[in-house]
């Protein structure tokens, strides 16, 4: 079994296990708050309980199948996965930051900065920062025209300027 395969199989167990935790929390909440059967009819908790039981059965089968296929861990596999995840993690953090400053900083400033950062992540003309800034302003401007001018959607601004 190759290193990459091993890494994928680890993922095949981790994801269903994580979903299992979420499902169990969901099931506990359903069981705790409302009685599943009220006066012979299904109450608000009945259907969620059925769904979570179906989910748990399916997730158990996935964890079991994934676990059986996992071989001994290899360091190289983890390295491959780490490199593959590095760029998406950067995008997630950049997007989270963009959402956080979107209202306080206003559309134009936050969007231009976000696009500039994304251009760097996607390796766009990394040697020339002025070209990057130019394209960031252009993309932010085009999207501004699309949302604000064509579709008349009010976007947050920083004071009265941008």
């Amino acid at each position: 079994m190759s290193a990459k395969q091993n890494s994928r199989l680890c993922g095949a167990v981790i994801l269903p296990a994580a979903l299992m935790v979420i499902t169990v929390i969901y099931l506990i909440d359903a069981l705790r708050k409302v009685r599943p059967l009220e006066e012979g009819t299904a109450g608000p908790a009945f259907f969620p309980i059925v769904i979570s039981i179906v989910m748990i059965v399916a997730l158990l089968s996935l964890v079991w199948n994934g676990w059986r296929k996992i071989g001994p861990p290899e360091k190289e596999g983890n390295a491959v996965e780490a490199v593959a995840l590095a760029e998406p993690i950067k995008v997630v953090f950049l997007t989270a930051g963009y959402i956080a400053v979107f209202k306080p900083a206003g559309y134009f400033l936050s969007t231009a900065a976000y696009v500039l950062a994304l251009l760097l992540v996607f390796r766009f003309k990394a040697r020339n920062v002025f070209v990057n800034i130019f394209w960031a302003v252009i993309i932010a401007g085009v999207c501004f025209v699309l949302f604000s001018q064509i579709f008349q959607i009010r976007l947050p601004t920083l004071g009265w300027i941008i």
Binding site: G11, P48, T95, I99, T111, Y114
Partner: protein, 508 residues
């Protein structure tokens, strides 16, 4: 007669300058998104979704119809020119088209793909115009227990149709249903699964889920591949306009029956919930290969294979709208998002939509028809020689723009930073699901159909004072439950253990 008048009114509405312009723009957007590997027409409509708040519903639906038809057709461009199908539905075209491209016959392959798409699209949209109003009459016969069983049947078929692990499909569907249960209960004024967060009482909006699932997850997938350049084999300059036009001898050789058969297969598979264009193209291609006089040409540049696959996937567009408009059950991911457009605009699929608001949906039918008959050949002839340049567009600029439209789109729907944040959360969840081969379409359809499944289940039970036998004693419900069992038995329990020669060849 009433239907015919309604359909003709739809064409009249489409002829209005602004509406027609929307169709043209939609078709160009759909062509672009389908032609760029990684982008799909579903993503294009997902990005359009927040903007539909400020668009007239007719204009929005006309754009969706044009994007859908263009998306099915234009995926054949990259399938032929660079051996990367623009959409999964163009996998079969990839096999035959690229083989022709390597022989210097790329233009011929693109011409036949366009012709097949045109014929399939026209037949599919005509069948939609005249079968959907009839299907609505069937929908009127289905009562509450039957509606529950129908949705259950649809969800099971959707999971099966994804052709991935049944357990993974079940988990993805269940996750979508779980997300849909957050907020106020479907029958009683009780808040569920808020976990102490007051903001969750209002529930989860459809918009962040759609944008997150289709746009943000794609952005993250593409971020992984920043080091991989697009490799173009063959010479794009060799493509000339006159080479696009298929000869009469070639069309006669393929045979009108191949186009007709492909279109009918595509339409019927489109009607099946969750099956989508890739299954339509695959089944039609396999059937054409089985009945071909020259099966040995398949895999080595068969124009008959291209015609069969492309007529089926474009005909599927019409078929996929039938269950969505009549029962509220989307036939594929794109129609699931179009359902979102309907819901956002306060339209409820079903018999009342056809009876009272047919004038709002008939322009979309006309848009599908005109897109297939006029826009496909026109686009090929005018833009065909430049198609290959589309794939050389800078990915960094493209995805940065898509990221802004997606994230800001999550905001403009409700002007809520919370819903905007959910876009990212669902995007990350969908990214990991896609990485592990879970069908994210099932999650979306579980989210859309889950509340109705619960509502009809509980209403059905309350009809008989909690007696679950109501689902077996009601004839319409029994039919769908039996169908569910039959599908489950033949496609899950008795699924084929070995690869057929065709699947081995195509790798699907």
């Amino acid at each position: 007669m009433e239907t015919l008048i309604g359909v003709l009114n739809g064409f009249e509405a489409l002829a209005a300058p602004l509406t027609f312009l929307a169709a043209v723009i939609g078709f160009l957007i759909g062509t672009f998104f389908a032609a760029v590997p990684g982008l799909t027409s579903a993503l294009a409509i997902a990005l359009l979704l927040p903007l539909t708040y400020s668009l007239d519903v007719v204009v929005a639906l006309v754009m969706c119809g044009a994007i859908f038809m263009a998306g099915m057709y234009a995926g054949s461009i990259t399938a032929t020119t660079i051996n990367i199908p623009g959409a999964p539905a163009n996998m079969m075209t990839c096999i035959e088209g690229y083989a022709l491209m390597k022989k210097g016959l790329g233009a011929r392959a693109l011409g036949h793909a366009a012709l097949g798409s045109m014929v399939g699209g026209v037949i599919g949209s005509l069948l939609l115009m005249f079968i959907a109003p009839l299907a609505v009459r069937v929908a009127l016969l289905i009562r509450t227990p039957g509606k529950f069983s129908l949705i259950l049947f649809a969800l099971i078929v959707i999971v099966i149709a994804q052709r991935k692990s049944f357990a993974k499909g079940t988990v993805a569907t269940g996750l979508g249903i779980m997300i849909a249960t957050i907020g106020i209960d479907v029958m009683e004024p009780v808040a569920r699964f808020t976990f102490g967060f007051e903001i969750l009482v209002q529930g989860i909006d459809m918009m962040p889920l759609i944008i997150g699932t289709f746009a943000i997850s794609e952005l993250l997938i593409q971020a992984e591949q920043t080091r991989q350049p697009v490799v173009i084999v063959g010479d794009g300059a060799l493509i000339r306009r006159r080479d696009f036009i298929p000869t009469f001898a070639e069309i006669r050789d393929i045979g009108p029956f191949t186009y007709l058969k492909g279109s009918i297969i595509g339409f019927l598979i489109g009607v099946l919930p969750g099956a989508g264009g890739s299954m339509a193209a695959f089944v039609s291609y396999a059937e054409a290969m089985r009945s071909s006089k020259r099966p040995e040409q398949y895999g080595d540049g068969s124009i008959e294979g291209i015609a069969a696959a492309e007529s089926a996937n474009n005909s599927m567009c019409g078929g996929a709208f039938v269950p969505m408009l009549t029962f509220g059950i989307p036939g594929d991911p794109t129609t699931a998002i179009v359902l979102g457009v309907l819901i956002i605009n306060g339209l409820q699929p079903g018999p009342m939509l056809f009876a009272n608001q047919f004038d709002l949906i008939s322009p979309m039918f006309a848009s599908l028809f005109v897109s297939a008959l006029v826009f496909i050949p026109l686009t090929l002839f005018t833009l065909g020689p430049y198609f290959i340049k589309i794939v050389t567009i800078n990915k960094a600029v493209l995805y940065s723009g898509i990221a802004v439209v997606a994230v800001v789109g999550g905001y403009v729907a409700t002007f809520s930073i919370f819903q905007m944040s959910l876009t990212l959360v669902f995007g990350v969840i969908a990214y990991f699901l896609r990485k592990q081969n879970y069908p994210t379409v099932s999650m979306l359809l579980g989210f859309i159909l889950g509340p109705d499944l619960e509502l009809y289940f509980r209403r059905g039970l309350s009809l008989e004072d909690g007696n679950p036998m109501v689902f077996l004693t009601s004839p319409d419900s029994l039919v769908f439950l039996v169908l569910t069992v039959v599908f489950f038995y033949f496609f899950v329990i008795r699924q084929p253990k070995t690869q057929t020669p065709l699947t081995a060849k195509t790798g699907t």
